[in-house]
């Protein structure tokens, strides 16, 4: 018993001496933003980069649908510009608290950030998930984009055996729907394995004329059900959901029904491949 008491006593003393902090990961000076589509999950439309207004700091996004951004320990707010693939951009003004803390003579100081507050933004919707950044950084802010699940994905295949297919590249000059503007492909863009075509939310069908250049034209006719969904976020209003999508018999894009296969009969945002076709 005596030994146990002494052992415990000495252990307690030893623990009391473990005061020296390690200098690893002292700061929590980076917060994470996750981009999502309202009602559909992660937004894979790629945010290319972000800059911090008033500085030369440029942050390249390395994870799809997420980005980590630094906080300035000497300020209490920062304005970030986000650049999306394509030409669009967004802005976010963020407020926060910063406190310095001496750690040790060896480690120096650390900055403790907290109180993340959204001051201004140009996104459809934004939510502060956690007001305190962590180290390593994790998601603190979720940015939501209004859903636009109006694109139908089509991939081209070629038959290998009677039961197997493989990806095929086709030359397409244009796709002309019976509503809206035609989709024109130019240069290297004409050689495609897949295309995404818009669905017409006004009626329950859409027709498309595929111009394959020298190979002639074919028609795709889709029929579907539409459903209006009202979002709680005012800026998003209502979204048209497309479901039970079918290929009409009037379609000339394929020779027979075994030449196409549905992967999913509802659209999504970001768009997914819905149909595999073996063009005639």
């Amino acid at each position: 018993m005596k030994k146990a008491v002494w052992f415990t006593f000495l252990a307690a003393i030893a623990i009391s001496c473990l005061n020296n902090p390690d200098c690893f990961r002292l700061n929590n000076g980076e917060f994470g933003i996750n981009f999502r589509v309202m009602g559909f999950g992660a937004d894979n439309s790629v945010v290319d980069s972000a800059t911090i207004v008033g500085t030369n700091i440029y942050v390249k996004s390395e994870i799809p649908s997420s980005i980590g951004l630094p906080l300035d320990p000497l300020l209490d707010s920062l304005k970030y510009n986000f650049y999306w693939e394509g030409d669009s951009s967004d802005v976010l003004s963020l407020g926060y608290t910063s406190q310095i803390q001496f750690v040790s003579a060896d480690c120096g100081e650390r900055h403790v950030f907290g109180g993340l507050t959204v001051l201004n933004y140009s996104f459809d919707s934004i939510s502060v998930y956690s007001t305190t950044p962590t180290n390593p950084s994790s998601v603190n802010i979720q940015v939501f984009r209004c859903a636009r699940p109006n694109l139908f994905g089509l991939s081209f295949k070629q038959r290998v055996t009677s039961t197997t297919t493989k990806d095929s590249t086709v030359i397409i000059k244009s796709i002309t729907p019976n509503f809206g503007d035609p989709i024109i492909f130019q240069g290297a863009d004409t050689s495609r394995k897949a295309v995404y075509i818009p669905l017409n939310k006004e009626i329950d069908s859409a027709e498309y004329v595929f111009d394959f250049g020298a190979a002639g034209t074919r028609m795709l006719v889709l029929k579907y059900d539409t459903q209006e969904k009202l979002w709680a976020v005012k800026s998003c209003g209502t979204t048209t959901l497309f479901a039970s999508i079918k290929v009409s018999p009037r379609t000339t894009l394929v020779a027979e029904t075994k030449d196409y296969k549905f992967l999913k009969q509802t659209t999504s945002d970001p768009a997914i491949l819905n149909l595999e076709v073996i063009p005639k």
Partner: protein, 234 residues
């Protein structure tokens, strides 16, 4: 360290006294009405703080301790001061704090029948501290650029709780020695908007949710009256 571990540790500390109780279970106990009138007051100081002040260039401090008995219960108070100074290599940063602290609580003596009132005790304390600290630094930051600054926390209040255990042994006449092990937890500090406290006098590193402290104490006991006689064991 988790609170449950600490309670287990304190229980292990208290095992000798429990064992003592068991050994005596086969003796006939004579019930004597407890006499809660104090018999004396003890004044002491923490030897570790005094020695550490001499050899540790970063620390200057002292602590006075006192207790008064009410049968096997002791009202204990501690009053102390500590100041720390850290200078980094190359003088790029300089931290200094100074402050006073006060602790009060109750210890329970588990050596019930010791004629000299030697103690093996378990108790608790409520600690309060008032301190100021200053940090001057030149920061080399590759992202935001280099900067320098001086940060101050002035007259910050802090309070915390402690579980205590230890010994008090009569050495010679009025001279007593002992140790107190303290498990400190529940630190709360006042508002410090620009700088988080580093070191709270009486507690230790502010970033720690719990902390161990240890005092090796020397006391002088001034008796008020004669110790009540311990009933003879049969």
């Amino acid at each position: 360290m988790k609170l449950s571990h600490t309670i287990a540790l304190l229980l292990i500390f208290s095992l000798p006294s429990l064992a003592q109780e068991k050994e005596k279970s086969d003796t006939t106990k004579v019930k004597v009405k407890p006499d809660f009138r104090p018999t004396g007051v003890r004044f002491g100081t923490d030897a570790i703080a005094l020695v550490k002040s001499q050899y540790d260039k970063t620390y200057k401090g002292w602590e006075f301790n006192g207790d008064i008995d009410f049968h096997r219960y002791y009202l204990s108070v501690d009053y102390g001061h500590w100041a720390r100074t850290y200078l980094s290599e190359g003088d790029s940063s300089n931290y200094a704090n100074t402050g006073n602290y006060f602790r009060a609580g109750v210890d329970v003596n588990f050596l019930k029948n010791d004629p000299d009132r030697n103690m093996f005790f378990v108790g608790f304390r409520y600690g309060v501290s008032k301190f100021s600290e200053q940090y001057s630094v030149i920061v080399k930051d590759t992202l935001w650029g280099n900067y320098s600054g001086t940060y101050n926390n002035t007259n910050v209040n802090a309070h915390w709780l402690e579980l205590t255990t230890g010994l008090r042994v009569k050495i010679w006449k009025m001279i007593w020695m002992g140790y107190t092990a303290r498990f400190k937890f529940g630190l709360s500090t006042g508002s410090t908007p620009t700088m988080l406290p580093h070191d709270v006098p009486g507690y230790g590193l502010a970033e720690k949710d719990s902390y161990w402290g240890f005092n090796y104490q020397i006391f002088i006991r001034i008796p008020f009256r004669k110790l009540p006689t311990v009933p003879p064991e049969k």
